[in-house]
């Protein structure tokens, strides 16, 4: 087996107290990953707790409210109070529920969400826990595993609302996973690897963020990511006005909080992947001038950059949730199958064509599993992405979907943007 874990910083095996008693190899390959995992879990779980507070505060600001401000200064201890409340709540299992699955499904959801954290490149060098060959595939696989928790939880509750929520989420997540996977392929053509850390490194090498080559891919990924995490405006599996609480209607107390943590962890992962693949990960132009690459300060700064980018995307998630109404189920499916997936496919075809064209024109050189661009190559790819790919996909899809109205089961009316009521005195 290969070593999945990245190397420890050089100072770690020379730590004063431990290095006398433990072999340096053990320090680097056993103790260090454990330290990393512990730190990651602590930081992420705390972050998730505070994300709930952030969401409540942000929603409060959007809605002209104050938000939680009772527990602790400015409500800063609110997550703690929430946690204690959820822990102390009575743990209800419905009489006719399928007990084993009812118990195990929140655990599946939560574990799947937390496992995916392991491969995310949080920072340069030792800032990342592990860098595996199939990084992106691993994330997609694990997140598709998390769907099971939701589906089984909804089914095991033996409630009609839960079942409807579970069925909705099954269909929704499976369809958006396709769009999500396809949206990432365009970016893979530039990074030429599935390993997430290598993706960041390739963007560092090209000194550019992939979003400039892949605006369509980024947009599709972001929309599918929102749908994949069951957030508004795609929160149909838990639409409170229709399905009460969807798949977790019957869950209470700690089991509910597991689902809750899983949702926020998934948001974190989706944002982190978007940052890694499209927004340059921990790479920020000029960062290597401030700090020597490989130094401890550089790694810490890279972790900070990554965190800031991720938090910015998370803010987008909150913002979307509190300002948009909810899609209907069939509209959601239509968006996925008629817009997202064709657009992603068209994006792949166009990106590949332009890459080949660029190579033919001599603007791009492909060697040793990595790309090298001349200045003209950058200009060529960015301009084709924005000037040709975006409008072309928009026009073609608009045309196709216009035509396909005849085949719709449900009548679709054109949306009036400026319909006015009549008035009569």
């Amino acid at each position: 087996m290969y070593l999945f874990f990245l190397t420890a910083p050089t100072w770690f095996s020379k730590l004063p107290i431990l290095s006398d008693r433990i072999d340096p190899m053990v320090m680097d390959y056993v103790v260090w990953p454990l330290v990393q995992i512990g730190a990651l879990l602590f930081v992420v779980l705390t972050l998730i707790a505070y994300l709930t507070l952030a969401e409540r505060k942000i929603s409060a600001w959007i809605q002209v409210r104050i938000g939680p401000n009772r527990v602790g200064p400015e409500g800063l201890l609110q997550p703690l109070a929430d946690g204690i409340k959820l822990l102390l709540k009575e743990d209800l299992i419905p009489l006719k529920a399928d007990k084993e699955i009812f118990v195990i499904s929140p655990i599946i959801a939560m574990v799947a969400a937390l496992v995916a954290l392991a491969v995310i490149p949080w920072g340069a060098a030792w800032g990342t826990i592990s860098n595996i060959d199939i990084g992106l595939l691993f994330i997609l696989a694990v997140s598709s595993f998390g769907v099971l928790g939701i589906i089984l939880g909804g089914w095991a509750s033996n409630s009609k609302y839960s079942l409807l929520g579970a069925l909705r989420s099954a269909a929704q997540m499976v369809s958006y996973e396709v769009a999500m996977g396809l949206a990432l392929i365009g970016a893979l053509m530039f990074t030429k690897t599935l390993a997430l850390q290598d993706m960041v490194i390739s963007q560092e090498r090209l000194q550019i963020w992939n979003i400039l080559f892949q605006p369509v891919g980024f947009l599709i990924y972001l929309i599918s990511g929102v749908a994949e995490t069951n957030r508004a405006p795609f929160d149909l599996p838990e639409a409170e006005s229709e399905l009460v609480a969807g798949y977790h209607t019957e869950y209470s107390g700690f089991r509910f909080s597991l689902f809750f943590i899983a949702e926020y962890a998934n948001m974190l992962i989706v944002s982190a992947i978007a940052v890694t693949v499209f927004l340059g990960g921990w790479y920020l132009p000029g960062l290597s001038y401030l700090f020597a690459p490989g130094s401890t300060l550089f790694v810490l700064a890279s972790i900070g950059v990554f965190g800031l980018k991720t938090l910015a995307l998370l803010y987008l998630f909150f913002w979307l949730r509190w300002s948009l109404p909810r899609y209907r189920y069939d509209q959601l499916m239509e968006l996925s199958w008629k817009w997202m997936i064709p657009a992603a496919l068209a994006n792949i075809v166009l990106t590949a064509s332009f890459l080949v064209l660029g190579q033919e024109l001599g603007l791009i050189v492909s060697q040793n599993n990595s790309l090298k661009f001349s200045i003209g190559g950058y200009v060529f790819l960015i301009s084709t992405a924005f000037i040709i790919t975006v409008p072309l996909i928009w026009i073609i899809l608009g045309q196709i979907n216009q035509r396909s109205r005849d085949f719709n089961l449900r009548e679709v009316q054109p949306l009036p943007m400026n319909r006015k009521v009549n008035k009569n005195n």
Partner: protein
């Protein structure tokens, strides 16, 4: 090929999980339980793939089997609303079928033992190739110390096996069309026809 130490322990762990849950799967009363147990078996199998350095296949296994096929299974079970089978879980051919499979098991294992005689439980000679151990060296660029499995599989897939690959995509297309045709309802048919 030789797995020793921790890897051997992991092999047995995954193998025992796979076999046990497979047995539970065919004896579970509830179809959803069966599905969940099959998922466990498949995940254990993916672990085995990881042990023999087939990372890409392991990822594909979980992505497609667990995330796609088994979700579809559970979806269908919910759709057809299969309750626990309280009376007859097995067909009338339980004894015959069980006996047949038992003899099949005996036969397969006997053949294995016969053909692989001498390979079992013997110490592997020191000259046998060992599992690769790649030492990491650089702090900054880890790209060279991770497995190249995906790249290799991809290169072979798109060069030597292009034709089967295209045929596979054709199979998938046919399957999609067939499934849509089979599963659509009468009233949908009416609308389309």
């Amino acid at each position: 090929m030789r797995l020793v130490g921790l890897e051997a322990v992991l092999f047995y762990l995954f193998a025992v999980v796979a076999v046990l849950f497979a047995v539970f799967m065919i004896t579970a009363r509830n179809a959803v339980h069966s599905a969940l147990l099959l998922i466990s078996t498949l995940v254990a199998t993916a672990g085995l793939y990881l042990l023999v350095n087939a990372e890409f296949v392991a990822g594909v296994q979980i992505l497609i089997y667990v995330g796609g096929v088994l979700v579809l299974f559970i979806f269908v079970i919910m759709l057809v609303n299969v309750k626990e089978e309280d009376t007859n879980m097995f067909t009338r051919q339980l004894i015959v079928g069980g006996a047949l499979s038992f003899f099949l098991a005996l036969g397969v294992i006997a053949i294995l033992l016969q053909t692989q005689k001498g390979n079992f439980f013997t110490l592997v000679s020191p000259s046998a190739p060992k599992i690769e151990q790649v030492q990491s060296s650089s702090n900054i660029s880890p790209s060279h110390n991770i497995s190249q499995n995906t790249i290799k599989v991809g290169q072979e897939l798109y060069t030597k096996t292009v034709l089967p690959f295209e045929i596979a995509s054709l199979i998938l297309l046919v399957a999609i069309v067939g499934a849509v045709h089979l599963a659509r309802e009468r009233k949908q048919e009416k609308i389309y026809d």
